[in-house]
Structure formats: structure tokens, C-alpha cells
Symmetry: C2
Subunit: 217 residues, 2 copies
């Protein structure tokens, strides 16, 4: 099965990555012509990509003034992690009711990839993608597509700010430990314990980010 990719979808991916990685800084106006020239495409796919990114919350449009990479406040970071905590704990509850051993083994494999990442010299920029992959593997059995869609968006937005703090290495390894513990609780089908841990897992990450955020405004 080959997957056909439209130009627009490629542009979406490229721009999303550039925004998440802060190659495009928050507040930067996104000139359609410039982006089109840079990517060797016409303005139409660029426009359509920007519209999709607006839906994801990464850019904002103003009529006749174009798109701007959104600038986010501390309050909003707080809100994002709060939403994640609520929605992810909820969906985890549904997932644990149905989760199979095979599902858990898949999650285990993702954690293996994580271990690689923590070795020195590894590309830490894939951390966000891998983090999402792990979390998603636990939520997928719930079958709650809408919720998963919302959570995915929240992760994308959170990643933008997680990447600011490279100094969060310590936090990464803490997260890693919590992931292992979380998976253990899932194997035990301990719904209450897993939800509780997940909540603090998400909220402490958020708080750590906000602390670092305030230090370097």
C-alpha cells in the first residue's frame, strides 16, 4: 500500500516541524509568497497548509493580514497541560477496560525506543514524537477516536514548549521512569493507580515547564 501524499500535506508537515522546533519563532508573520518560493510550490498549498495549522492552534489568521505563528502565554501552557491531564486520564480509564496483552507489548516496545533516546548523543528532538507514540499506544484500545484527536493536538502544542527547555534532561529521565511505572500499573489493570500516576505525570511536566518558562521569558 503506497501512501499518496499531496503537496499540501507535505507543506503542513514541514511547517508544523518548523514551528514546533522554533525554527519559525512565535510571533513571526508567515508570508505566503516567501514560504511558497522557499518550498518551490505555489501559494495555494501553502495557504491550505496554514489553514490546517490554524486548526491545530499553531498559527493564527487575521483577514488580509495573513498568518502568524501563535505566541503562547504561561496561562495557556497551564491550561494545555490541565486539559491533557483530564482527557488522558479519562481515556486511559476506558482503554484499561479493554486493553490486551498485545497492546501492552506494543507499548513496551515503544519504551525500548525511549531507552535508546536517553543515551548521550541521541537526537532529543524526537522525544516529543516518541512520547506521543507511547501515550497513544496506551489510549488506542479505548476506541475513542474523537478524544484521541483532541489529545493529539494538545500534545503537538505542548511539544512546542517542551522543546524550549533542553535543560530539562533531568525531567526527561523522570518522565521515563514514570512511563515504566505507568506501564506496570497498566499490566496490573490498576485503573485507579494508573490514572492517578498519569495525572501527576502530566501535571508535574507542565509545572516544570512553566518554572523554566518563567526563568527565561
Amino acid at each position: 500500500m503506497i501512501t499518496r501524499k499531496t503537496v499540501t500535506s507535505s507543506v503542513v508537515d514541514i511547517l508544523r516541524e518548523k514551528i514546533i522546533s522554533h525554527e519559525i519563532e512565535a510571533g513571526t508573520p508567515l508570508r505566503q509568497n516567501a514560504l511558497a518560493d522557499e518550498l518551490n510550490v505555489s501559494r495555494i498549498p501553502v495557504r491550505e497548509a496554514l489553514l490546517q495549522l490554524e486548526a491545530e492552534g499553531l498559527v493564527e489568521f487575521a483577514p488580509h493580514r495573513g498568518a502568524v505563528a501563535t505566541r503562547i502565554s504561561v496561562d495557556e501552557v497551564n491550561e494545555l497541560f490541565g486539559l491533557r491531564a483530564i482527557l488522558e486520564c479519562d481515556v486511559l480509564g476506558y482503554a484499561l477496560a479493554k486493553i490486551t496483552d498485545e497492546d501492552l507489548e506494543i507499548a513496551q516496545l515503544v519504551l525500548k525506543e525511549f531507552d535508546e533516546l536517553l543515551k548521550p548523543g541521541a537526537d532529543r528532538f524526537t522525544w516529543g514524537a516518541l512520547n506521543w507514540k507511547f501515550h497513544r499506544s496506551l489510549y488506542l484500545p479505548s476506541g475513542r477516536k474523537r478524544t484521541l484527536g483532541l489529545i493529539r493536538q494538545l500534545h503537538t502544542n505542548c511539544d512546542r514548549y517542551l522543546r524550549i527547555q533542553i535543560q530539562l534532561v533531568a525531567d526527561f529521565s523522570r518522565a521515563e521512569e514514570e512511563h515504566h511505572e505507568l506501564l506496570r500499573l497498566c499490566w496490573a489493570r490498576d485503573k485507579r493507580g494508573a490514572k492517578k500516576l498519569l495525572k501527576t505525570h502530566i501535571l508535574t511536566t507542565g509545572r516544570g515547564l512553566i518554572r523554566a518558562f518563567k526563568a527565561v521569558p
Copy 2:
């Protein structure tokens, strides 16, 4: 302050209304040419409108096959109302901590509009919009923009299915009573009571809808 409207945004509004009102039925392929001719615009704004509606969950795109009005399952209705219950209760908690008497008076006014609506002969199709207006007025003081955005989308999606059941008149007046009671609890700043009522308010509406849904598949 005049509000400039682009063609695209008008098309979004028109198509959204058509989908919510079931003038465009679920599963219908949305031909870009046909829509463009019908609305006397070119295909570009139609495409861009469809992209936005995809983000709202009202249509789905398949590459080179175009957009289709999404068909929703009972499970998904269930999920939507579940999400509403969680998110709205959460945001109501934050809102009640800050809500002022002026905010509450605004909400009161919206309820007045509601009373008009329940009189015989009134246009029941604006019910969904008004319902959202009331709920929003209670949540707005929270200042949680992201959450409000998500909830708005959920309301739009729920409306599509609420409108199927015109026979839900009884349910409408029940909802109306609950709105008054909810507002009363907000005046009293009874956070726990308000959240509890809101939860059952949303979930019973959802369950009623699903019952009716199963009766007429």
C-alpha cells in the same frame, strides 16, 4: 466596528449550517464544482471552507476523492457527550471562582431568550445556537480560551444530532428547567452542586438522544 467577511468565511458558515441542519445529509460527497456553482464563487474558497469544516469534524477529506459529510455512530455520540460533560464541568469550576454578578446577569438574559423559544410556533432550529450561548456565558469568566474552543466544536457536532429529534420537545423543556436551576446554583457559587447538575444535564441529554437515535436508525 465593521466586521470584514471573506468569501471563504461566508462559505464556511453556509456549509456548516447546511450540514448541521441535515440539508446536506451525512455520507453525502461534497463536490467542489457543484458547491462553487451553487454559491457563485470559485472552487478555492469552497476548498478552504471544507478544510475548516474538516477541522471542526463535520466533513472528512480523502486525497483525490474529495470531502464527505461525516457519518457518526452511536458510540461517537456517546463519546461527544462524555467529552462535553468532562470539559464543561471542569471549566465551570474555574469560571465559578471568578464569575461576577454582571456575568450572571448576562446569562440570565440568555435564558429569557430561551423562554421565548419554548413558546409554540417559535423557530426551534436556533435552539442549538442559544444553548451554546447560555453555556458559554457561564464558562467565559474562566478565561480558558483553548478549552472554550474545544467545547464550542463539541457543541457544533452535538447540534447535528440534536436536530434530528424534533420530537425531543419534552427534552427541551427539561433542559430549560435545568438551565434555570444551574444558573441558580451559580448565583449561590455552589461549585460542587453546579458541576454535579451540569454533568447530569449533559449526560441525560446525550442519553435521550441516543435512545431516539436507536429508535430511528
